[in-house]
């Protein structure tokens, strides 16, 4: 005979009744996390089939060189790339999704919604610590060479130089002796008794930078105006000043432990974001000639490994959205850059204890960094990405200048896939840097002392370097033709990109009690609004991870799978 025991009816009643008040405080002032959040395991489909359905046997590594990467991770990256290109047809969508995927939205222990972007290592143009060239070379996978290809020296520049030289000298001198306008109000009424040196330095730096920008823009514009008759590529060139340049990439750590700024897809990688403003930029429609063959021995040698982490070079993390800006918003300018010039004044303000010995490596690392970032952003605009390498090498010409001291550089980008380990690299990037040259020693009595013609020759060679395009080249192989999409889809794409464009970035300036999530909440909400307004397009085209997370996290139902469960993301019946 079986005796059934009534075990704790009281307990059963308790559970049934008290759950009604889960939404209220347990005790005045006591917050206990509302609602137990169950981690739901992935639901395998419930379909019955007569014979067992196995997924296809796939090779250990996906196509391409993956080196010593974990095969699961390699397949994850491969599928990410496939998804990226299959679902997102336009470059604008790709850029938005890349920015959005760095956001996190979570509910802290007081049930308050926290929206934030993840940490990224922020790189600036000017290196903050001395002798950091090996670090930047390791990050961007570049070799620095001394040899320029011959076609630069074969350009005939003399006649042009003689014609242009007096005009440029005139421009420089007028800017030197130009009257200072727009004195700020606080300076007008300043008696001049006590001036704080750091504030004076900052003001002087600002004035210097503006002057440099003005002078350089004027110089470039005069040369282009002179040459425009004969050179069609300069006729259509766009010249801009104070141009923002930003680029984001993720680098494989190759075993060294980085405890922050990991890329959310792959915890073996850290992400870097370059941010700088170019003083002048000249843009064209067509790509430049390459300087080094990507299959040469120099490109095949791996770049020396830098075992020291980013904080030892004074590179710190900040919360930022991963942006790719090669100087213009997508669709609003020419995609290729002929020349970009950076102003060197900040080096003298901040790193005044650097001698001439330390100056050259700092400027070299500036050029390497800036050239790489510019070209990376360009590559993303052209449809390439870390999963699809550029099919032709991209070139950038960079100058870092102070109106007096000039340094020239040419950067060639061969690879973008920095997230792969070191043994997976097929080529590396190349940078040529010139020595520091003085345009003039000083200005005395309205004259430039020791004027150096070589600087002008280099500058003219850079501008005369004509971009080349054959009619049968496909410059944008991975971008589909968008003219056949319906108007609604085009509107959606445009609006999505606007969400990224109007985005000011968040940084940890306030304490938690004072932190108002200014624009990251705006970004998150606008993105959510876009995806709900254009729900049908999103549901048809996007995988669930890219829009569904906001909804799921609001309902607090499902968490993103851990890496070890990644295999089970897609159902077994494929």
């Amino acid at each position: 005979m079986v005796i059934l025991h009534r075990t704790s009816t009281a307990y059963v009643g308790y559970r049934l009744i008290l759950c009604r008040y889960k939404h209220r405080l347990n005790h005045p002032g006591v917050h206990i996390p509302h609602g137990v959040q169950y981690k739901t395991p992935h639901n395998l489909p419930d379909e019955y089939a007569d014979h067992p359905l196995y997924p296809p046997i796939r090779p250990k590594y996906p196509p391409g060189s993956w080196g010593s990467m974990d095969p699961k991770k390699a397949w994850m990256h491969f599928e990410l790339g496939e998804k990226h290109y299959r679902h997102l047809k336009s470059v604008k969508e790709r850029l938005t999704i890349m920015a959005y995927q760095n956001m996190i939205c979570y509910y802290d222990k007081l049930d308050v919604e926290q929206i934030n972007s993840k940490l990224i290592w922020m790189l600036t143009g000017r290196p903050r610590s001395p002798r950091s060239l090996p670090f930047y070379k390791h990050i961007t996978q570049t070799h620095v060479t001394d040899e320029l290809p011959k076609f630069y020296e074969q350009m005939d520049v003399e006649s042009l130089l003689n014609y242009v030289k007096p005009i440029l000298i005139d421009r420089i001198l007028t800017d030197e002796y130009a009257q200072k306008d727009d004195i700020p109000l606080e300076d007008m009424y300043d008696k001049g008794d006590y001036k704080v040196s750091s504030i004076m330095n900052e003001k002087k730096l600002k004035i210097d930078q503006q002057r440099t920008t003005n002078t350089l823009t004027k110089m470039i514009r005069t040369i282009i105006n002179v040459l425009a008759e004969h050179k069609p590529h300069l006729r259509q060139a766009l010249v801009g000043s104070d141009v923002p340049i930003e680029a984001w990439w993720s680098l494989n750590t190759n075993g060294s432990k980085y405890d922050r700024a990991k890329w959310h897809h792959d915890s073996d990688t850290t992400s870097f974001q370059f941010r700088d403003k170019a003083a002048v930029q000249v843009k064209t429609d067509k790509p430049l000639k390459s300087i080094v063959d990507p299959n040469s021995s120099l490109c095949q040698t791996p770049v020396p490994f830098c075992p020291y982490q980013a904080p030892s070079f004074k590179v710190f993390t900040d919360r930022y959205l991963p942006m790719q800006i090669p100087g213009h918003w997508h669709g609003e300018g020419h995609d290729f850059n002929l020349l970009s010039i950076y102003s060197m004044d900040s080096i003298y303000q901040h790193d005044s204890y650097f001698n001439e010995d330390e100056l050259l490596p700092s400027l070299m690392s500036w050029i390497v960094n800036a050239g790489h970032a510019e070209l990376l952003a360009q590559a993303y605009y052209l449809g390439f990405s870390m999963w699809r390498e550029p099919t032709y090498p991209l070139i950038a010409q960079t100058i870092v200048s102070n109106r007096r001291q000039w340094i020239f550089g040419v950067y060639q980008l061969n690879t973008i896939a920095h997230f792969k380990p070191r043994d997976a690299y097929t080529t590396s990037n190349i940078c040529w840097v010139s020595p520091i040259m003085n345009l003039y020693e000083r200005i005395e009595n309205g004259e430039l002392v020791n004027f150096n013609d070589d600087v002008l020759r280099h500058l003219l060679r850079f501008l005369l370097n004509e971009p080349v395009e054959q009619p049968d080249w496909n410059l944008r192989p991975y971008v589909d033709d968008l003219t056949n999409l319906d108007e609604r889809y085009k509107k959606f794409i445009r609006n999505l990109y606007e969400v990224v464009k109007l985005e000011k970035q968040d940084s940890r300036e306030h304490h938690r009690w004072a932190r108002v999530h200014h624009d990251t909440t705006v970004f998150n909400r606008r993105y959510a609004m876009m995806t709900t307004l254009f729900k049908d397009i999103v549901f048809d085209n996007y995988p669930r991870e890219w829009y569904g997370r906001t909804l799921e996290k609001i309902e607090r139902k499902k968490n993103m799978p851990l890496f070890k469960e990644y295999d089970l993301l897609l159902p077994v019946t494929r």
Binding site: S129, P130, R131, K257, Y308, P311, S312, F354, E358
Partner: protein
Amino acid sequence: MRLPVNLQYLYKSMTPRYPKWQPGDPKHRIFFPEFWMRIMRPQENRPLRPNVVRFECHIEMTKNDIKQYLEKIYKIETLDVTTIIQQGKENRHPITSEIIDPDPDKKFAYVFLKNETFDYPDLWRGKMPSDELLRDERRMVSATSKQNAQLIHRPGKENRHPITSEIIDPDPDKKFAYVFLKNETFDYPDLWRGKMPSDELLRDERRMVSATSKQNAQLIHRPGISNWFR
């Protein structure tokens, strides 16, 4: 380690009491602040470049101070100094969670040398003090494991009152461990030259017994001279 008060904050430290100076006296005053610097071992998770040295310094020293300290006193050319303040642990009361005895804040300086390299010297011959402590702990743990020792717990004799048989003055319990050593031998040293204290006591007792017996009464038992009377 808590620094003495005069080294914690410069404004709290007293200047030395100089004698009053009059014209013609030698100048004894030294204008030297209470700055100190100490070389530190680099942290394991942050490997340093060969030119970089890690110092701990007085919390009120600035980057310029550190630079001039090294350049003027030790003639070391520095290129760059990075300072970081590490806040000491606030130790709280276990119940009231009030902050009691906070550890002092520390300032670390990473100094970038110009023309030299520095490698933290190997003072401990490859071992670390923490390793030694770990080894001691492991030894203690292994000594208490049953394979290596036999433990005998002998409770002490409870001395009872002769009449009430109440426990008065119990002997303390003793625990004996027979430890089997791995690589060594041990012989209890011969401290008493072959004799035992208990033998001496027994012999005294026997002497006293024998002295009171009549056979030995002829022996003159002469007590020692008591100086007190003299």
